[in-house]
């Protein structure tokens, strides 16, 4: 234990302020992705009280759809169209495709179980997750597919403009792709908050989440609201998948498992059902992971992240922004 502490202090010293900033930057970018995925978990839980374990796999499908578009336009090394329209189409196709997939999952796997005991849709969610993972594995031969995002828009194999620095802090560059990931995530989250708090659909979603039966009696088409929730949650996951591909540079069939688990952790830590909670906790999980890897060592990062989940459950079972549920007895 002493040795571990000594190593951590030594690592903090050797990385200095520059390293601390790099870890902060890395954590925020990674956390933004977790936040987007966590929002899906929290929205679906909020409305159906269902832990949609297949959500991480929808994110994986989004990443593959983005990769498919990139490939269809000639790949990162030789794209047939300009960088900006290409990225817009990648996002559009991945978001739309993931959204449709989410609606399909709800319609065919969860809706028939709406009135079944709560364990049944949970098992169905696990089944859908395995189905998507293994289907992707069969279709991709289990290989990782490289976005080559580093070369996207670059010439002669050099880094493309996505990796140009936008500004530097203490000598550490913050690149275009990092700004793109954080900026897009913040915009999508703001749009979601607007949708939920200021639109008719948002009002219907809140009503359905509060009391599905009462909402139905008030004339709200709850099936449609639930489908819309799945669509929006999956659209966010699809966007996160493309961002991941552009930032990290790769996609593979198993990528949704760990990212989904960490995003789920974020959703729980934030207070499952709370949109703001999922956003804040997603970034928090990203930061904790980043500092754990940088200062403690990669082998400790998952222990630290999931240790926090346990701690939060003990100290604050409702999470950061979760409300105490009042139950009629």
């Amino acid at each position: 234990m002493h040795l571990l502490l000594f190593n951590i202090i030594d690592q903090i010293r050797s990385l200095g302020w520059g390293g601390a900033f790099e870890l902060l930057r890395n954590g925020i970018v990674l956390g933004s992705l977790y936040s987007l995925i966590a929002l899906g978990y929290t929205m679906i839980y909020g409305i159906l009280k269902l832990l949609n374990f297949a959500h991480g796999d929808v994110y994986m499908v989004g990443a593959f759809l983005g990769f498919g578009v990139l490939t269809a336009f000639g790949g990162a090394l030789n794209p047939g169209i300009g960088l900006v329209p290409l990225i817009i189409i990648m996002f559009a196709v991945a978001m739309l495709g993931s959204g449709v997939l989410g609606v399909g999952i709800e319609r065919f796997a969860y809706r028939p179980l709406r009135n079944a005991p709560r364990i049944a849709p949970l098992i169905a969610a696990l089944g859908v997750s395995f189905f998507l993972e293994n289907s992707a594995q069969l279709m991709t031969n289990g290989f990782q597919y490289n976005y080559d995002a580093f070369q996207l828009g670059g010439k002669n194999g050099n880094f493309g403009p996505l990796f140009d620095p936008v500004f530097t802090v203490a000598g550490n560059p913050v690149t275009v792709v990092q700004v793109l990931v954080v900026g897009s995530a913040v915009t999508l989250m703001a749009a979601l908050i607007f949708l939920v708090s200021r639109t008719r659909l948002g009002k219907a979603m809140r009503a359905t989440a509060f009391d599905q039966e009462a909402a139905s009696m008030m004339g709200i088409d709850t099936d449609r609201v639930i489908s819309s929730t799945f669509f929006i949650a999956s659209v966010l996951a699809g966007a996160a998948g493309v961002m991941y591909g552009l930032y990290i540079g790769t996609t593979f069939y198993f990528m949704g498992f760990l990212a989904g688990l960490k995003a789920f952790t974020a959703a729980v830590v934030g207070g499952i059902g709370s949109i703001v909670g999922a956003m804040v906790a997603g970034v928090l999980v990203g930061l904790i992971e980043s500092y754990a890897i940088g200062y403690v060592g990669g082998q400790w990062s998952d222990i630290v992240v999931f240790g926090i989940l346990i701690l939060f459950m003990i100290v604050r079972p409702t999470g950061l922004f979760g409300a105490q549920a009042i139950q009629k007895v």
Binding site: L23, G142, Q144, G157, F159, G249, F252, M255, E289, I293
Partner: protein, 407 residues
């Protein structure tokens, strides 16, 4: 409603039959395995070999080339031999928890037609299942289990596999670790190295071996770990000291290694990178002009390799080649045992033939001839390992992306 009740009843009945069959199967399995061990098997026109590999799960991308190469060996063997071979697949789900290496071993053991096994893929899987194979009298020839102690006793401990039951067509971690550390110290003359393992038994064993060897040479070696599911290495890159000259990544997934290299490079780090046989995949792992890998001294111009690539639309990866060789070893041993038994044989007879199998470098595709040791050799090798010149080569990855042998 009646239809629904009928369907549920039919499903329940089918499920009960399946459960009962499975339960009966598992209770009888050990007895059937022992019976199969002693049974005389008619060779007929086709003999059966099991292949235990990760067909699904997190390590499926490693299993796919192993299966493809083993199937390719079967295809080539069947074209040129009267006695055909048939592969029976066992998915061990390496990397999943719990893995299925043990149930696969039970199932192979109970298969009355099975004469030998190619695999298991992981060293941990070998440790877990070799007792079952021994009980069933089956020989296991692995193309990727590289842990030293599977074939060589550790001080104060016996070797981890019974002699005569486990063979491998891949040099072990000790041999690869020595080759890599010597190259870093003697040829590259680097003083500051950073080692990152992927937390799997293969990677940790190799990383430990290289770290120990480098320490003997007085080379400073920092250490970190990642998981096979990890793809964001930005914070790992931050943790690498600025004076690092080479980052050694003995990982199993070449795509993951390439992602790491891209992120290292994007962060403005200019350290060289070195992978192991797990990342020996031209076309996938391409740290052009900045990298090295240790791998089998494969002849990339070989017509067999070229025709495999053509048939499988693959990049010229070499990780699966030892499974091709392992399949040939098993097939050769069975063929000789069948011939000696005049069309009949036993698992014991096949097992005794395996250590006598010899394949030329050209036939085995690995760049060295296959001949198994019958006693300990040097520091790391023991019976079940290959003797002769079996070892790893070092490749430099040129700025054009090709692999050039340099050591």
């Amino acid at each position: 409603m009646l239809k629904k009740v009928g369907a549920v009843a039919a499903f329940a009945a089918l499920a009960s039959v399946l459960v009962a069959t499975t339960a009966w199967g598992s209770a009888k399995a050990p007895a059937r395995a022992s019976a199969a061990a002693a049974k005389t098997i008619k060779c007929g026109k086709t003999v059966t070999i099991g292949i235990a590999y990760p067909a699904t799960g997190p390590a499926a991308s490693l299993g796919a080339p192993q299966f493809d190469w083993a199937s390719y060996a079967k295809k080539r063997w069947n074209k040129s031999h009267k006695l055909k071979i048939k592969l029976v697949v066992g998915d061990t789900k390496l990397g999943d928890s719990p893995g299925l290496a043990v149930p696969v071993a039970h199932s192979f053991g109970s298969n009355g037609k099975m004469l030998a096994v190619v695999g298991p893929a992981g060293s941990q899987e070998v440790q877990d299942s070799i007792g079952i194979y021994k009980k069933a009298g089956l020989v296991a020839v692995s193309g990727s289990a590289t842990r030293i102690f599977l074939t060589r006793a550790k001080t104060g401990n016996p070797r981890e596999t019974p002699k005569g039951y486990f063979f491998r067509t891949v040099p072990n971690d000790g041999q690869q670790g020595d080759a890599v550390a010597s190259w870093i110290h003697n040829k590259l003359k680097f003083k500051h190295v950073y080692i990152i393992d992927d937390e799997e038994a293969y990677s940790q064993g190799l990383a430990n071996q290289v770290a120990a060897d480098l320490a003997k040479f007085g080379v400073t070696a920092g250490r970190n770990h990642i998981s096979q599911q990890q793809q964001d290495f930005s914070s790992v890159v931050t943790a690498i000291p600025a004076n690092t000259q080479l980052v050694y990544i003995p990982w199993q997934l070449p795509g993951q290694a390439q992602t790491f290299y891209n992120q290292l490079h994007a962060a403005g780090r200019h350290a060289k990178i070195m992978g192991s046989d797990g990342t020996d995949a031209p076309g996938t792992f391409q740290p052009n002009g900045n990298g090295y890998v240790s791998g089998f001294p494969v002849d990339f111009t070989s017509s067999v390799l070229k025709s495999f690539m053509k048939a499988h639309n693959h990049q010229p990866e070499t990780f699966g080649i030892p499974s091709y060789t392992a399949t040939l070893v098993a097939a050769t041993a069975i063929s000789k045992a069948c011939k000696a038994g005049h069309g009949k044989t036993t698992r014991a007879a096949v097992r005794k033939r395996v250590p006598k199998v010899k394949l030329s470098a050209k036939a085995g595709l690995l760049g060295f001839g296959i001949q198994f040791l019958n006693k300990n050799k040097a520091t790391y090798q023991g019976p079940g390992d290959m003797g002769g010149t079996a070892n790893f080569a070092i490749y430099q990855i040129t700025s054009g992306g090709s692999y050039k042998r340099v050591g």
